[in-house]
Amino acid sequence: MNEAIRELLAKVGGLPVSIDQITDEEDLYNAGLSSFASVQLMLGIEDKFDIEFSDQYLNRKSFSSIKAIERTVEAILKNNEDA
């Protein structure tokens, strides 16, 4: 999952630095992720993992770091399994 998120981030994130230089915990907004790029990232993740972000996850916190994105995706996948 980590690799897939990094791949998407490199593609749509518009970050001024190489994705390899971003740690899992690093604040992506401080690293240059714009609001609109985070929307594109969200749509890309939905497509990749075949999930849908519910309203509670559509916020800055969910996309604040690679780790946060992983946690969000895992939570959505788990919700889907439980449902």
Binding site: V39, M42, L58
Partner: protein, 302 residues
Amino acid sequence: MDAQISFLDRLFTSGLLLDTGVDGLYGRSGRFEDIIAAFERLIDRTGGDDGAEAIRFPPGMNRAIFEKSGYMKSFPQLAGTIHSFCGCELDHVNLIQCMDEGKDWTKEQQATEIVLTPAACYPLYPVVAQRGNLPEDGGLFDLQSYCFRHEPSKDPARQQMFRMREYVRMGKPDEVMEFRQLWMDRGTQIMQRVGLPVNIDVANDPFFGRAGRMLVNNQRDQNLKFELLIPITSTENPTACMSFNYHQDHFGTKWGINLNDGTTAHTACVGFGLERIALALLHHHGLDIEAWPEQVRKELWG
């Protein structure tokens, strides 16, 4: 909805607004314009000593600048583009025939280089960027323009073509935040002086679609937008008559607006919805302007 239609009907009947047959597109009477002119003078008296540079753009803007602004990413549903006939004589014959037959003649219209201005400040940023670095104390601008948003409605407070008066501040983050707070205080005071009940609340722009939901949440989480609300046709959903927006470095980065030291400028704007304010005054004080409370008339007309 009934309250909106009722208020609109009364505005038409009294002759304050004139029906054009399109929801949200109205003629204005001299009496209506007089309210707006008086309120603008009140704004001038409040902010006039701040030294803002006054600039007036027409209600259309450069399409290339509009495209670069990213407006279509966020609000495609509100945008208005200007199209014209660009064909030859034969095309003209076909156009007339098409119109005579009551068919859709607009398909062959070509996009011009102009789009309708969605907010008074949109044309400003690239113009300021072109001048080079801002002076030591940043920039302060006074704008007013008719704006267009495609949202037909029976609510007279939601018009498709309306005027927005704006002040825009460019500077360091603390400077633009201070400017925004100053106008939140001033806006409240102005409205109270003309007898209008106000409430200021955190707000969001109408970003398009489900993806826009995330932009809404981001905007609200960061307190980037506040609105000054006044009940007009509903007390549960009062109308935003002013907005106070902190853009962070969004426009500074987008257009290359830099401070004196070369770092990216932050920007903020405050906007007055002039028609909405006039409507708020008419709703609260009555359609007979001569009969408005003496104190309100004195504030507006001296």
